[in-house]
Symmetry: D2
Amino acid sequence: MSSNTFGSLFRVTTFGESHGAALGCVIDGVPAGLPIDFDALERELARRRPGQSDVTTPRKEADAPEILSGVLDGIATGAPVAILFRNTNQHSADYDSIKDLFRPGHADFAWESKFGFRDARGGGRTSGRETVARVAAGAIAKMLLARQGVAVRACAFEIAGIRAGTVDWDQVERNAVRAPDAEAAVRMADAVNAARADHDSVGGIILCEALGLPAGLGEPVFDKLDALTAHAILSIGGVKGIEFGAGFEAAAMRGSTHNDPILPGGKFASNNAGGVLGGISNGDVFTFRCAVKPTASLARPQKTVDRAGQPAEITTPGRHDPCLVPRMVPVVEAMTAIVLADLLLLSKNSRLA
Amino acid sequence: MSSNTFGSLFRVTTFGESHGAALGCVIDGVPAGLPIDFDALERELARRRPGQSDVTTPRKEADAPEILSGVLDGIATGAPVAILFRNTNQHSADYDSIKDLFRPGHADFAWESKFGFRDARGGGRTSGRETVARVAAGAIAKMLLARQGVAVRACAFEIAGIRAGTVDWDQVERNAVRAPDAEAAVRMADAVNAARADHDSVGGIILCEALGLPAGLGEPVFDKLDALTAHAILSIGGVKGIEFGAGFEAAAMRGSTHNDPILPGGKFASNNAGGVLGGISNGDVFTFRCAVKPTASLARPQKTVDRAGQPAEITTPGRHDPCLVPRMVPVVEAMTAIVLADLLLLSKNSRLA
Amino acid sequence: MSSNTFGSLFRVTTFGESHGAALGCVIDGVPAGLPIDFDALERELARRRPGQSDVTTPRKEADAPEILSGVLDGIATGAPVAILFRNTNQHSADYDSIKDLFRPGHADFAWESKFGFRDARGGGRTSGRETVARVAAGAIAKMLLARQGVAVRACAFEIAGIRAGTVDWDQVERNAVRAPDAEAAVRMADAVNAARADHDSVGGIILCEALGLPAGLGEPVFDKLDALTAHAILSIGGVKGIEFGAGFEAAAMRGSTHNDPILPGGKFASNNAGGVLGGISNGDVFTFRCAVKPTASLARPQKTVDRAGQPAEITTPGRHDPCLVPRMVPVVEAMTAIVLADLLLLSKNSRLA
Amino acid sequence: MSSNTFGSLFRVTTFGESHGAALGCVIDGVPAGLPIDFDALERELARRRPGQSDVTTPRKEADAPEILSGVLDGIATGAPVAILFRNTNQHSADYDSIKDLFRPGHADFAWESKFGFRDARGGGRTSGRETVARVAAGAIAKMLLARQGVAVRACAFEIAGIRAGTVDWDQVERNAVRAPDAEAAVRMADAVNAARADHDSVGGIILCEALGLPAGLGEPVFDKLDALTAHAILSIGGVKGIEFGAGFEAAAMRGSTHNDPILPGGKFASNNAGGVLGGISNGDVFTFRCAVKPTASLARPQKTVDRAGQPAEITTPGRHDPCLVPRMVPVVEAMTAIVLADLLLLSKNSRLA
């Protein structure tokens, strides 16, 4: 089952904890000859980096990637690409006060039940910092996808109950919350900052699209395009749901309304399907939304128990994002790109050449 | 990637098409010594069987399971358990009229793009009939779970926009739609039959729970309990979304409301998490909902194209469920049970004994 | 680890016991469009069939394959190909006398240690009969290989210490032992029959070659061509060793003699490497030999213990091959073909198109 | 297929090239709570280190391991254990003279056929240096095995045709060639040095044993103990064959001689089986031998071609081991330990507790 490895032909293994020596990833299956664009890698990482704006955590982490293997003179060699991130700004002592308490909404309790143990230095492997390795791997996946004309993009569709009124992709990287609507972005940012002022947090919904996907991606019956994507996206800490195309609204529709009429040229008159039929891409835009819970770490007292099972109050130390969504947008793109890269490689064997 | 195999230690491989000779599954990893309850297997299959009530398709399929291997004198031997279902009531000729048309909402178009070919005899591998193998494998998984005190149950939480007002699990198997609310069940059934009268179809939402799950199931970071479950559930044809605990509603909550306070004894004051924190079970009830689209096959004309790309109308022949939900309830349970059985086996190696 | 599944993109799952209802295989990853030659399938099975000559067991087993899925009008559809073999000539009662004894040289003792249990009806899953599913899957693999100009062939290189003096492939199917040397074949057959007369058995060495293999097959670093082949061949019951090219003789050679000089045109002046360098095919003939132990089941008394741990004597009932080699030749070919088909599919993704 | 990952529950992923920035491994599945003995890790690495004696290469490589993750206060946390080795003594310029030539006996030609490219800096990923990551992972596996009373040991059974007359394990680490026979060790060392003086190389045979293995390890039918071990050992560069127990000699034995009589107490009167029956450990010593070819890199001219296909001569630069065996002994142990650790974890699920 390989819990720290994801994918079949394009396979990503990650390692590292938030307060250990380093985090990183090993990407197996990068085809030899792929140009590795170091600047593009840096750009993706910058979008996930803490401290990038006033709606994120003020923590500073350099997140400087070091490519250890698999690339020679800027070209992938066919050997596994390993990328390393040294930890440099960890304040483990911050966590001393809560090392015997379980943080509500966190993995502490479940993790200790599993391993008989937990790494109390800021979350260890369950930290959001783990996603730096995913973004790095996703950046490589995007380079592979780009050669086939496939692009992945995501945005903050809703934050704190405030939904984007329009989806203008040009706006996304122009505002701190990554909303596709400049006006809503202002209100979203206000809501994030109001929550922070209350020592509280807010959640939201991320919209993601893949453009240029050929029809025919997805492996029946268990590794459907949507099934693998759901696996990948739900593996991101804080995601609580996913829906494709019309999603949960489809549940209240009639078939005659929901079915997307097929037009000449393999086009569809609507896209309730979200670009996936029977688990296989149909050539239309692949589209899904995922629900992100409000950040669990709060700088206000919450009810909990200590490791002896006694009632206690906890105020989580550290500097946390009051809303996970803005920095999770590139993580959702990364995991989607990893799935699509894998399915593109797999699709070469669907039928005889 | 093994598209027709699911799972790691408890591994299910399925095969077969709706209008071929047979369907079946091979279940690897059933621990030797597990008693195989043939009656329980039959009961699960009966819940999925066509023609079981007036809200389902009137098709009759015997779905008689034959255990080919892996069981001796009613006990699992440790060898793979293969279960076979012969196809007996297939009317392939029904489909002759549409063999050159793509059915809207179906996998036809995407499948042909992938394989250069499609099995036009009633859906082939994309048919809902494929789920008979999943239910059989899920029944074996449930037998394993039961020995550890784990039970899985699901119900029709919403059909055609009509939501259950209460969740009374005792009601579920007493009404044809499998709703947990006797009164709502009547209205749901009426809505299903109204859709059928209109040659149309309706969708719904299935609620699923696992009881008795120990804390500590789920494999960080990629094979989280919720991530694997999402993979499994989205692999069922017709499912368009999934949410855990508070799900999409969590997106509009504040952290102080969403976080479940931890009580002495490892209990939680609420269950917004849905029993899973950081991807690992926390000992509370594991709960999720999934969205089911309205049946794509309609006995009314729909716009489409033929294989030459010319505009056409299509009226799908055959006898289809006007709502997939009632018969999908046991399928959702089955896939959930398969995931949980796998994670239970995996959990034995989380830490030193 | 999936002990009953082998392969990555071309994946074979087998099931069934010698004295159960049936055996079979499910082959995932057969590319859509591959013509399935039923006669070729039958021919391969006939080469493995019991009772084919006077040097094999006189047992009669029809071994009639039924293709259950994945093939339509003689063409693979892209869905998993399931092939079933009903058991028809099983005499379970034969084994009653030894159900509480462990057979020397058999898996009985180890199997019971593992599963707390064993299927005493003729070996169950450890029976050589399990290989019928392998040969069926290998036949499909050979059909895929043939389209790429790759052929796999094997022969009895040595039996009972009698080694073929020449390797004339035209002779192999002309004698009952499948030796590549007509003269040695006679002596080998005599040795087999002498052993049978003594209620004893003999072993041998199988030579296998793959012709037409392109350079570049094999996945560094763990799934090398030779490593995967060794895995596949050692998974056949009764095989005790494998060597590639010069094999164990290479251990006593100097580098200057062992290294195969490279000639213009990518040819080699010798083939001590056996067609594989650094785990990757080099375009020369891929060649290996494997050691087959003498049949463990003997119709003479042997020392053993019973399940209570008390000393006992055992005479194995049933009708067994006095030498496994002749009927194992097609099994070795089959497993090799499965590995090569998998590597051929994988090789499409080594580098950018 | 995951060519750079090996194992199922105890999974090892390696990365890195001989002349890149670093090499390393990520070990997934180390049970939480396992004490990590850093000194033991160092000792294993020292046994593989270049320059350790006058029969090995005089190259100096520090091979200082840095544990990046998965260990806290000397205890495994359940998170993946990543171990890094920086490259420090690489002389890439040494290889400039041969960057357009294919080295006989090397992977150059096959690698370039596969990837359209090769990393000419000393072998890249095909370098023996890649095994440093295997030895590190194997050291962790040995720590896990030791807790179950299992030990793995190997030695130089034969070098340059000179075979050990006795197997005295106490001698192995007392001589530079790692022979189990002090007298033969001297002759082996002389043969190695004579080959070096001739600018030539020699091969040998490594014997490996696992002690204390419980009966019942190995997963039928494809992941048999011997099949997985063969896969692991043949994945080591330079290994050309493997045999278990009596191995190739079994081919010439009769069944009545080869079968190991079973004695009271689950003991065996002989061990022709090599401790494995039907692919499952039988509780006796698990034993195999593998053939190692003479080092391919020679400081004498050899016939080859250049990348344009023109005839050429090549003299391999660099400082190479005249015999791979002494430094491969710990590599063989490491790969064996990785297989056994995996099978031990898997064996917990063979039957109901």
